[in-house]
Symmetry: C2
Subunit: 341 residues, 2 copies
């Protein structure tokens, strides 16, 4: 039996082993991914992101507990560990996270150090998610830290992206500066028992109003109607609803993850978003984008491998030396080396 | 006269025009970069990074003011704007930043939206920095936001990287979580008039102690001696100093950028780090790494261009469809498409 077959049969040990092989990008891992791929496409992929200090990890733990206890679903968590990009050492281990969920065979938590290049990280994350998807996990939560490119990559990978904020982490403008509002499908104000929660929520609301000036009128539990601007002029909104395309306006949900409050409602928002994606056709669109990005990454990687196998190390070193001495520009050097392929 | 020649002659308008062409990756920009490249390699490249809310931008402004008024140096600032990755809209414009430095011909500030792919952003930043370097700017400050891959890229690009912290931005552990300590050459505790500054500094110090357990003993203004462990056993440290390699331990500098205090000392730290890089040989090493990363990015880009020019759109779409329908894995699809090249 191949490791892929063992995983399809629910073998947890084989799963753990394959995740390591996939993370190390071994040939065994690659082959298993090919074998597992036809079994993917069923899981709901949920990205959770936000600045350090927002309490993302405990929120994810609470969500996992909810899905286990209330909905009896299989949950996987891929925690992209905000550890050093250079040493690769994880600060928060799996053990800390497992305390609440230990011994439950239907929960699998995998931490991954954010070492190496981002392209590599995004690709590895996508591969781990595929393994969990094929292994029959109903929900795969991908948790990342920080503000920046990693969030964008998570948004590309996930069906539903939660952006977590918390009161008192700095000026309100910082939320805009972080530039992550556009990737949010659901906004979570965690640590909602802290002072300043109203201000945080107000700032998020006014940012949403800026982003969705008219749609806000028709908002109802996260779904609104996008009105085709030309024909709706002067007509009452209700008359337009049937012919309009439903669009999603990110709901704002307060939570206190240390107490577990607001988690049921948050799970409800997530379920509504999944239903919206299915009915609007966005689920299919996101799948296409995700697989296209993955294909491009694999093509890029294969091309670079071909390159390094075909260019002589001596020519490479000699050309690099000319660049260092400012005799050849990097652009010209690239052309010289590519001629050799 | 080519635009490159105009820039070498100090034409500010030509510089502004070329920066736009380089940012748009136009062929004119590319040609000018090749022409300018032999004139690069003189500027001191300084990266400034840190979480939102630490006051990076005003710190950079203060540093620029110092270099102008005290040291009479030409300064360029490349501010990677923490705007939306999707809309590309800049929240903080150049005008806000220019207030203190307006009308000074020896200061040039360029904001860049962090739109598009990270690879592209890093490459574009490197190109803008090259233009400033060739144009005779003594210092080029590259300012980025957030915790994550963009910091790592800045560290690769810069000679000296400043990591900015501030009191009261969350738990002390968050600084470790952000995982940016390893890229810091100098640690700045900005907003040092805020409560909690001692805690922030203490947390940074204990992290440094963890990272440099023995070297700390010999620390002196940011430079220490790395003792070869075997022969030094039992010998007094002073006896070893002559034969040891000097290593750099990041100094911690308090600043209050709103008042400009601590800025002189910070500039002093930066100058000491540059001297250390020169004397230890690390300057040459960092140059090599930087140019090698840039060369690899250009090769990758050219290969992808070749690919898209050689593979028929119909085959690409048909193959992608098979992936979406889970009939072909992304890995197999990549191989099918690469055969066409």
């Amino acid at each position: 039996m191949t490791s892929a077959q063992a995983i399809l049969n629910g073998d947890r040990l084989a799963l753990a082993r394959l995740l390591t092989q996939v993370e190390n990008d071994s040939s065994v891992g690659r082959e298993a991914l090919i074998e597992l791929f036809p079994h993917t496409g069923k899981a709901h992929l949920i990205g959770v992101t936000g600045a350090p200090g927002t309490g993302k990890s405990s929120l994810v733990n609470q969500l996992a507990l909810h899905y286990r206890k209330v909905e009896n679903k299989k949950i996987a968590i891929v925690a992209i560990d905000p550890s050093s990009p250079f040493t690769g050492g994880a600060v928060l281990g799996d053990r800390v996270r497992m305390r609440d969920l230990a011994g439950d065979a239907n929960v699998f938590i995998r931490s991954m150090a954010s070492r190496g290049s981002l392209g590599g990280l995004a690709q590895t994350t996508a591969n781990l998610v595929q393994v969990f998807d094929a292994a029959g996990f109903d929900l795969v939560i991908i948790e990342t830290v920080g503000a920046g490119q990693s969030e964008v990559d998570v948004a590309r990978l996930a069906h539903t992206t939660l952006v977590v904020e918390a009161p008192g982490l700095g000026d309100d403008i910082q939320a805009i500066k972080a530039g992550i509002l556009e990737i949010a499908d659901i906004l979570v104000v965690n640590k909602a028992d802290r002072p300043g929660v109203e201000n945080t929520e107000k700032a998020l609301k006014s940012m949403l109003d800026l982003a969705h000036p008219t749609e806000r009128i028709f908002q109802h539990h996260g779904t609104a109607m996008r009105i085709n601007s030309a024909p709706t002029q002067g007509k009452p909104a209700s008359a337009q609803k049937t012919s309009a395309t439903p669009i999603w306006i990110p709901p704002i949900q307060r939570t206190i993850s240390t107490e577990g409050s607001g988690i049921d409602k948050l799970a409800d928002c997530i379920a509504k978003h999944a239903a919206h994606l299915r009915s609007s056709g966005d689920w299919v669109l996101r799948e296409r984008t995700r697989l296209e990005v993955e294909l491009a990454a694999l093509i890029r990687e294969s091309l670079m491998k071909r390159f390094s196998e075909n260019v002589s190390p001596n020519l490479y070193e000699a050309t690099l030396q000319k660049v260092i001495q400012r005799n050849t520009s990097p652009w010209e050097a690239a052309q010289i080396l590519l001629k050799e392929m």
